[in-house]
């Protein structure tokens, strides 16, 4: 698989996260958090679009990549192939992925193509803002005695799904292992400070795949329904 194909695997993750996070724009009761989640979600979609563009996809190509490929062709991280139904899980996923985005984009900033280097720097800086946001939530949920136990329980479910985030062949094996190690190092302080062990993340990236029991097909079905129009009589109002 080429390096450009690797960019598309990362783009899949960013796009799916932007979509999945979007449900919290209206589910969350706090206006400030809705604004934050809306912005992060919007930026995830923009980062996905940027990566797809650098992989050579034009507007129509990006549309086809998201809306027309069969589910079997998708290879996202397991972290994005499950819906994760509550806020503590959404926080953990947001935090882990923002850190992945920052670490991975820093690697991009060492790419040979100057325009890719520049894009890597921009994306890394924007993901840093997301890291800061989610880290605050990790501290709040992990340190408050009313939520800490539930938060750690949710971490035990979410962290194992994240083992493959650097398992996509975006980089060669050595680069993937180095990125995985840098990512685990980046999240270790905030997570261990609230009693979340990192063993589940592993020492090396797990390979992508094995999503047969996941919710990916349903998630992609939801995404595609936004385009074709669902028969629920609600989305039609906004067309």
């Amino acid at each position: 698989m080429s390096r450009l194909d690797g960019l598309l695997r990362v783009a899949e993750d960013r796009f799916l996260h932007g979509h999945l996070l979007g449900r919290w724009i209206t589910d969350y009761v706090d206006l400030e958090e809705s604004l934050a989640v809306g912005s992060i979600s919007q930026e995830e979609l923009a980062h996905a679009a940027t990566l797809m563009e650098f992989a050579g996809l034009d507007d129509e190509g990006r549309d086809a990549f998201i809306f027309e490929r069969p589910v079997e062709d998708w290879q996202p991280s397991a972290l994005l192939a499950h819906r994760l139904h509550d806020w503590p899980a959404a926080v953990l996923r947001g935090y882990l992925l923002a850190s992945v985005g920052e670490v991975g984009s820093v690697l991009l900033s060492h790419a040979r193509r100057q325009e890719l280097q520049s894009a890597g720097q921009v994306i890394a800086a924007e993901q840093r803002l997301h890291v800061t946001h989610w880290e605050r939530w990790v501290r709040m949920l992990g340190q408050d005695e009313r939520t800490a136990d539930e938060f750690r329980a949710r971490a035990a479910e979410v962290l194992p799904l994240a083992r493959d985030v650097f398992g996509a062949p975006a980089f060669d094996e050595a680069s993937g292992e180095a990125a995985h190690a840098a990512w685990v190092d980046a999240v270790s302080g905030p997570l261990t400070a609230v009693g979340i062990p990192l063993d589940a993340l592993g020492r090396t990236p797990a390979p992508r795949g094995g999503l047969d029991d996941s919710e990916l097909a349903g998630i992609l079905g939801d995404i595609r329904s936004q385009r074709v129009g669902a028969g629920d009589g609600v989305r039609g109002l906004y067309r």
Binding site: E32, L35, A36, G38, S39, I40, Q42, E43, L45, A46, H47, T50, E115, S118, A119, Q121, V122, I123, A125, E126, Q127, R128, L129, V131, T132, H133
Partner: protein, 162 residues
């Protein structure tokens, strides 16, 4: 520089941002304007990658070029590079202060643009648009925004480099 290029540059310099009443030139979004023969190229840099106004900005720029040079082929390209508050021109800074934004300059203070007080409070790292962070002033009670990429915004997000 040709007369035609002068005309095209002058036309592009009048294009306003779709959300904030400031020209894209003064905002530091227009990075280059180039005309050769019947080809025109304008390079823009987004304040944030997710700016939802990008397509409208490109449409307005294209329209401006064609108003000055109807027969040219126009290409509008986005340069993916870091936009900073210091990219705003001096005139743009004055416009932003007048309409209630914090000074966008790097190294500038977070002072309230309405009363000048430094007794202000950050209201979080995310505002009504992806490029803004909200503040409120304890002295006059006004609310206002700072643009991400400015020192004021970095203060608000607690050291984040975004």
């Amino acid at each position: 520089m040709s007369v035609l290029e002068d005309r095209v540059r002058a036309a592009v310099a009048t294009v306003e941002d779709p959300e904030v009443p400031i020209t894209l030139q003064d905002l530091g979004v227009v990075r280059d304007v180039w005309v050769a023969g019947r080809e025109a190229r304008v390079v823009l840099r987004p304040t944030r990658l997710a700016c939802p106004a990008r397509s409208e900005m490109a449409r307005r720029v294209r329209e401006a070029v064609l108003s000055a040079a109807p027969d040219v082929h126009v290409e509008v390209d986005w340069e993916i590079a870091t936009w900073r508050g210091s990219d705003v021109s001096d005139r743009g800074t004055q416009v932003l202060l007048q309409i209630g934004y914090a000074d966008p300059g790097v190294g500038a203070s977070t002072a309230c643009p309405f009363c000048g007080s430094g007794d202000v409070r950050s209201e979080g790292a995310f505002g009504g648009s992806v490029c803004k962070v909200p503040f409120s002033c304890r002295s006059c009670g006004s609310t206002y925004d700072a643009l991400k990429g400015s020192t004021a915004a970095e203060v608000a997000v607690g050291g984040a480099r975004g």
